[in-house]
Amino acid sequence: MRNKINFYLIEYAINAILRQRYKNIFIATTLTFLIFLLTSIFFITNSIKYELNATVDALPEIVVQKIKAGRHYDIETHATEEILAITGVVDAVARVWGYYYFENAGVNFSIVGVDEFEAQYKESLKRVVETSNLMNTKESSMVVGSGVKETMQNNYYKDYFNFIKPDGTLKRVDVVGVFDGDTQLESNDMIVMSKADVREIFDMRESKATDIVVKVSNPDEVATIASKIKLIFPDSRIITKNDLKISYQNIFDYKSGIFLALFVVSLFTFFIIIYDKASGLSSEEKREIGILKAIGWRVDDVLKEKFYEGFIISFFSYMIGVIAAAGFVYIFQAPLLQNIFTGYSQLKASFELPFIFDVQTLFLVFFLSVPIYIAATIIPSWKIATLDADEVIR
């Protein structure tokens, strides 16, 4: 190996970099910053995507919504019976949920009603709720996410909350628990209470529900069952788990796509500048190449030396950029960039981005930066190196 790599050429390349210290420091800084930004965005996107995909399997296979006049409409609860009759359906539950706009804070709470708040969900709830004096109260009670709790406290609601019903009267519901901090990314804006309470707050009749969730045990049957439901209820919209996964993919492709597009523009600008600078090589640099050729360097020696030069600068920038991005995103939790993904909600979750080592991102950024930079430095030198030495020096 030692015979293959010419250390004198590397040494020469290092000295060449040091001769133009300030120019190269400037280039390296810019490149590092670009790589840092792009890698950070990809890291954040990947983490959120990972978080989403980790929990998507816990969702029901099919959601049935009723569409009337192009809008979502309350579905009849007796539809569950017909759906349950389809072979392969394990469970069909009419669900009641919705958004409650809390005007004082300008936020939307997501209220979900669960069946048998006292019985069958008790065990499950116990595992995800921090305080355990659940269901001791006879009154209406609810379990809230930590973001909801905080918002309520800021508005002087400590142990209970007054929901304003559609007719203007108040409905008092006691807070009996807060969801575990680990689930904050999912539970931050959630309120879980009994179905009867949700119906009262949204003024929904017993025979109506928001949508119907269907559980199917065999994933291969989902598509067939979905089409059967569609046949029975032509006015319904069937959302399968697969649709949700595609929709997730769309959101994140869209958001990180915007950044990739912005980055590509800035990267191109950067390389145009590099290329322009290099192709209008200063007469000194031209003469350098000419002299090297005159004292016996071959074209490939010159190109090798230029390759080392480009590689050292771009690889250092790449490594520093990636290291900084990993620290910025996972150790410091991406202070400013995270806001781009979390939107401008008042009900902000202060979540930790879960780490996922993504080799694909590292390779993508690597091939977007290092080879292109090297090419941008080699090509102009090659143009000059192929000329006759005396022509260049003169």
């Binding site: 590397i10 816990a58 904050q184 949700l244 769309n250 008042q346 009900l347």
Partner: protein, 105 residues
């Protein structure tokens, strides 16, 4: 030693490259051990999601469709035009809370 007589800077540069790689490996290891999702908290999340059975994350909650976006309008991405994708403020009229932010008009 004499081999390096004329190439004194090369070992330094190679060494620092190597040091960067090692540093990156250690950083990754550190983050991996401290910030990965442990199975317990993952179970909790799954438990929670199976209770409420709603998709999406609570990362943006001001507009109703952003939080269960995939539930509230799955069809409207291409509603008007294949290239038009809705995003909050541009395609929705949404009343800002005047109580929360007094400066807003």
């Amino acid at each position: 030693m004499s081999k390096n007589l004329y190439t004194t800077k090369t070992p330094k540069v190679l060494l620092s490259l190597f040091a960067l790689l090692v540093f990156f490996a250690f950083e990754t290891l550190y983050i991996f051990s401290t910030k990965s999702l442990d199975s317990e908290s993952l179970e909790k999340r799954k438990e929670f999601v199976s209770i409420v059975a709603l998709p999406d994350l609570a990362i943006s909650t001001e507009a109703t469709f952003i939080r269960h976006r995939s539930m509230s309008d799955l069809f409207s991405i291409y509603k008007d035009d294949g290239s038009l994708r809705e995003y909050f403020v541009s395609t929705y009229t949404y009343s800002h809370s005047h109580k929360a932010d007094k400066s807003a008009k």
